[in-house]
């Protein structure tokens, strides 16, 4: 192990790029290598289920940063490289093909991969999961084939990816069926009132929603998918199937090297792993909260925030995760913006027009604001983000009263706790 060896970052997605950039902002002047497995330069994933599915364009339009940005920051990008092992005692990475790269310190930003269906027929042609640019292009082409041949698209999973794909496919003119195993949409992250609003929106746009659907088999002929069969015998014809049933963190590399992992690489608030020379950020991590609960966040904001902590930690500084987690989803004309974590809420109040829908759901526990989901209510989202960052809670009555200006609570509060990045 050599202090003059470069800092290596494994994974060239949102978190990896941010770690590299933040390291330079933190004053790291040494060699810096960003190692990516895909051949595409670092790109944004959120548009892949939204705008990109509708109108794919040139790769550079999806880029997280351009080549000039990496040159300016002296970040060396190595694409198409698969890391096969971390040799912690030797302080080096082992690459497929035999090359060894020594590191002084290491950052893991290996991301996640879509959970797969372990069912008969899951390997048929026409069955897709969405993670990469290639996946998005293939799904877009399959949806267009469905439209041309008048065949339905079946989406398995009524979460964010499934619903965004469903909305995009409807815009492209495909007939769409969404099969959800639970009794409502996005049930893991939203209150029933938000699920119900999206249920109405998707039905109004002609999507067939099936709840409590236990998929048991995908049926095909000549190797191509033709239908999805459920436990109750119901069968849904399918020209193509998109599976959106969550993601699995890519922690195998870390686990094989003996780092503590528990459905993700375990990190503290400062993105430090169980090895003092190794940090981790983004989808591949699981964070231990003060109450002992494990938190996994799969979002752009989490990747950026943890990456900033990780870069500081590599420079020997503590910069704990501090700004309130937030997330967004676009489905048809509804802009969903979520801020805070609603886990453990005991009360939900709403502000705005439920039917439009243009409303916000405020989640409280013991009268304290935990989180806010805003549907086409940008003003609520922005104020809620600042309230949560400042640790200021409206009362449930104030939140539900459309005539109460939440801004007044901010004026008496100190500024947001998040500092300049």
């Amino acid at each position: 192990m050599s202090a003059s060896a470069p800092i290596l970052i494994v994974g060239a997605g949102q978190a990896g790029v941010q770690i590299a950039e933040s390291l330079r902002q933190e004053g790291y002047g040494g060699e810096l290598l960003l190692i990516g497995e895909e051949l595409h330069p670092p790109y944004q994933r959120p548009p892949l289920s939204k705008k990109w599915l509708l109108e794919p364009g040139a790769d550079h339009l999806l880029a997280l940063r351009g080549p000039a940005a990496l040159i300016r920051r002296k970040i060396e990008l190595r694409l198409g490289q698969c890391v096969t092992a971390i040799d912690r005692s030797g302080g080096a990475l082992q690459l497929a093909g035999g090359a060894r790269l020594p590191y002084s310190k290491l950052a893991l930003a290996t991301g996640s991969m879509p959970r797969t269906l372990a069912l008969p027929g899951a390997q048929l042609q026409g069955v897709f999961a969405l993670r990469s640019i290639t996946d998005s292009l293939q799904i877009g082409a399959a949806v267009r084939r469905c439209v041309a041949h008048n065949l339905p698209l079946v989406v398995i999973g009524g979460g964010f990816i499934g619903l965004e794909v469903a909305a995009s496919a409807r815009k492209l003119g495909a007939e769409v069926t969404v099969l959800e195993g639970l009794p409502r949409l996005m049930s893991r992250v939203t209150a029933p009132i938000v699920s119900e609003a999206f249920e109405r929106v998707h039905r109004a746009h002609g999507v067939q929603l099936v709840f409590g659907a236990q998929v048991v088999e995908l049926l095909g002929s000549d190797g191509s998918v033709q239908a999805v069969r459920c436990a109750d015998g119901a069968q849904f014809a399918a020209g193509a199937v998109v599976v959106g049933i969550g993601v699995v963190p890519n922690d195998a590399l870390a686990a094989a090297a003996g780092l503590s992992c528990d459905r993700g690489i375990l990190v503290d608030d400062c993105a430090r792993s169980s090895d003092p020379l190794i940090v981790a950020a983004g989808d591949c991590t699981a964070r231990r909260l003060p109450d002992g609960r494990l938190l996994r966040l799969e979002s752009v904001h989490n990747a950026i925030e943890q990456a900033q902590s990780a870069a500081a930690a590599l420079m020997g500084r503590e910069r704990p995760f501090r700004s309130t987690p937030w997330f967004w989803s676009d489905q048809y004309d509804v802009k969903l913006q979520m801020v805070g974590l609603s886990y453990g809420y005991d009360q939900v109040v709403t502000r705005g027009d439920l039917a439009a829908p243009a409303f916000s759901a405020f989640y409280f526990r013991a009268g304290q604001l935990l989180a806010v989901d805003s549907l086409s209510r940008i003003q609520d989202h922005m104020k809620a983000k600042r309230l949560l960052d400042a640790g200021v809670s409206p009362t449930p009555q104030q939140a539900a009263d459309p005539n109460f200006d939440l801004q007044t609570l901010l004026q008496s509060a100190p500024g947001p706790t998040g500092g300049a990045a």
């Binding site: 548009p47 880029a63 000039a68 003003q379």
Partner: protein, 107 residues
């Protein structure tokens, strides 16, 4: 190609030639400028690409949409009459010479 001049929070000026049709945000991110985060990548969902437009150019820009106006109400840095979200500013030949400044904080 239209040229846009960016002023980073430390005062450094960077002039870039951008393709017409690109956003002012895209140009800054591609060049790796400081003072911009653009977390949502241009979806008008995060207000972390806030910039101050040189006052002389203000009325040459397309007026902000309702969504952008709502986002601008709660940007992290001081909001000024010249505040815009750079992801919503599309570069055109008429904007050749545009100057924008990034604030000291985006989140």
């Amino acid at each position: 190609m239209p040229q846009v001049t960016y002023v980073e929070p430390d005062g450094q000026r960077v002039s870039l030639e951008l393709d017409a049709g690109a956003s002012v945000m895209r140009g800054a991110m591609d060049a790796g400028l400081s003072g911009i985060e653009a977390q949502c990548g241009g979806a008008c969902a995060c207000a972390t690409c806030h910039c101050y437009v040189d006052a002389a150019w203000l009325d040459k820009l397309r007026a902000p949409s309702e969504d952008e106006q709502l986002m601008l109400q709660n940007v992290a840095a001081e909001r000024r009459p010249t505040s815009r979200l750079s992801c919503q500013l599309t570069v055109t030949a008429e904007l050749d010479g545009l100057t924008v400044q990034f604030p000291d904080r985006q989140s």
